[in-house]
Symmetry: C2
Subunit: 211 residues, 2 copies
């Protein structure tokens, strides 16, 4: 009986699991070799699959990249919402949310410069994914602003418009091209963080309830 259990055929990998394995392997290769230099054939070889099998799951390397971008941004979005819904006072919550956005974007470029062409490709080819993420960030910021308006920390106003203005005001600290520029010029991380704190302080004073 034991022998027959050992010999039992492995439960077939579900399509979902295979997609996930392809994404994981592709992400590893994009990180180590760079996006442009990685071919679908490399991903297939690493997985012991045929390229044709990969194409059953993803129409192109670009489609794999889209799935990875969606996953990464989905994780960051969840983190942002955890902060937006935390028990911190709204001004601290907003500061924490903006600093987290900056740190996560920065990590992508300081720690993993090879991801740059992957992100650039995602922004050019899958702007919809990026745009939905940006919109989710604005919604999370609005959530904090509305809490702050209700609690009397922030002056009452158009929370949607204010959230959009806050998002625009911190673009220097989260846009991949601008971060890449700072990295290229060797701007120290601490200087960037201090600059962001200056902008956050200005934003918080602008939002403050002065009555």
């Amino acid at each position: 009986m034991i022998a027959s259990i050992e010999a039992a055929p492995r439960r077939p990998t579900s399509a979902e699991e295979t997609r996930r394995r392809i994404e994981d392997t592709a992400e590893q290769l994009f990180r180590s070799m760079g996006y442009q230099k990685t071919a679908v054939a490399d991903i297939a070889r690493e997985l012991g699959m045929s390229p044709a099998n990969i194409y059953r799951f993803f129409a192109s390397k670009s489609a794999i990249n889209e799935a990875i971008a969606q996953r990464m941004l989905g994780g960051l979005e969840a983190e942002i919402w955890t902060i937006a819904r935390s028990d911190l006072a709204p001004p601290e919550r907003l500061a924490s949310l903006l600093r987290t956005l900056h740190r996560r974007h920065l990590a992508l470029f300081f720690a993993e410069r090879r991801l740059h062409d992957m992100v650039t490709a995602a922004m050019a080819e899958h702007w919809g994914v990026v745009e939905r993420f940006i919109q989710a960030c604005v919604t999370a910021i609005r959530h904090v602003l509305m809490d702050g308006m209700a609690a009397g920390d922030f002056a009452r106003g158009d929370a949607e418009a204010e959230a959009k203005a806050v998002k625009q005001a911190i673009i220097a600290f989260v846009h991949p091209v601008l971060i890449a520029e700072c990295v290229g010029r060797n701007t120290p991380e601490a200087e960037l963080a201090a600059d962001l704190d200056g902008v956050i302080a200005l934003i918080l004073r602008g939002l403050k309830n002065v009555n």
Copy 2:
């Protein structure tokens, strides 16, 4: 006598005038053909000069581009200082200064998309010129903030740090790459202007003297 005046040799063009003519002609060609597609030989032909003669004045096409960038940014810098030193109340002066920066940068891309590769080349090859311009903008903003602090419009604080924060907060509206992105996505000019007004309103409330 009249005949001899007419026949008198034209006063020799000074080196400064020749440089200026080369810059003017190059700028026209960059605008009409694009920076990358314009060769020094094209500029020479247009001027009825030999390329060798151009190289007596500029070491390369890149050096001509540097001179043009310096001239353009110099003109904008003068305009910014006129606003910074105007009689408007400091908050209006600051708003006007920031809107002017946005409009001038935008015109460069909406009206003259061909200038994009010229600006991109200038940013990559002559960052010193661009950086000096950015620093001049921060200095002009600081000038307005100090006037506003003295007049009681703005809360007293570190004018240099505040000016830097203001500059960072409006990067979305002046950075060539971000403007090019908006142009590429056909964001209407009016929407951009309204977004900028939202950020300016937030900045002005943040700077306000609330005592």
